[in-house]
Symmetry: C2
């Protein structure tokens, strides 16, 4: 059995990562979503252990101190991070694991796991992104501006990612990611599987 | 406009490269098949300029002498090669170009064009390949044995290729290659196209 791949997916707030990834998970059966830990407050409809593992700042800092985070970062005054052991267990079982993380965390992963597959989801335009962020009625004007500035910073980092997917259509973006997953499996797994055939 | 990619496809004689690639070309509109030059005799049903450009040995050697071949090799006592200018023109027009060549030629291309996408098509087993080669009634027992030995040599070189596609089903193998093409375009083209958005 092959060890599962690590797939890092980033993209600015408001780009529609969640919707695109939902479509991807509907069509791909060997994929697990790595539930991040965070200290931010749950939004309406978010469930602990499903969307995030919601931790207190004290709990999060303990995890860091015990070296249990694969990566972590501070984003808009909250901690976000990935439990290393949890991801490793999934990969050892042969499952490919998707980490949806922002660019600082992603850069940490890329340096620690050079074989990670890295995907950046970008909006078709900055205007498009601003409209999407403004449309989120739950956020104040101040938070929207903050997220938009952060988004532009993140977009400046696309060169650190191997694959750039443009979300001009959810279906197309999801199919793009499914093609990337299929191609990476052909690259990473088939040679291992084939060696037995030649013996 | 992006310059077209160079896609190198290899695989042993009898693996079914032609059938798989036909399926790929049916579904992909930005793809051109690079017609190789050869000094071997046309098989029944093969048309000059479509399956190969059939050259005399004198013509082929002149092309080599004039440095007009992107790669060439001798295989089963015949010359095979790729006209460099012909491929370059296609790529400059934005078309992705598929070169179906054997492993010696491919290794030359890989060293000259490190950004080439390399795909090796393998049979599900050696037995499977031998049966396929034996089933070709047009070939003598001697030629079959020669091709089988050559096939095993080629299979020993899969590590020089990025992608290994197993032809256990023509449909699946074609879809694998289509996914590779889509992923490589996402990798190579989208970033270029996106820079304009950020300006």
């Amino acid at each position: 059995m092959n060890k599962g791949m690590l797939i890092v997916v980033s993209g600015p707030s408001g780009v529609g990562k969640g919707t695109v990834l939902s479509k991807v998970f509907e069509s791909d059966n060997n994929l697990a979503y790595s539930v991040s830990c965070t200290t931010r407050k749950p939004r309406e409809g978010e469930t602990d252990g499903v969307h995030y593992r919601f931790l207190t700042e004290k709990e999060f800092l303990e995890n860091i101190a015990q070296n249990r985070m694969l990566e972590y970062t501070v984003y808009c005054d909250n901690y976000y991070g990935t439990d290393a052991q949890y991801v490793e267990k999934l990969r050892e079982s042969g499952t490919d694991v998707v980490l949806e993380i922002e660019t600082n965390g992603a850069l940490n992963i890329i340096s620690k796991c050079p074989d990670a597959v890295t995907v950046f989801i970008a909006p078709p335009s900055l205007e498009h992104l601003y409209l999407r962020l403004s449309g989120r009625a739950t956020e104040s004007r101040d938070v929207i501006e903050k997220r938009f500035i952060k988004a532009k910073e993140e977009l400046a980092r696309i060169d650190n990612y191997e694959y750039l997917v443009i979300n001009d259509s959810v279906e197309k973006a999801a199919e793009d990611i499914l093609a990337v997953l299929r191609a990476e499996r052909i690259k990473k797994y088939n040679k291992n599987n084939f060696r037995g055939v030649l013996l």
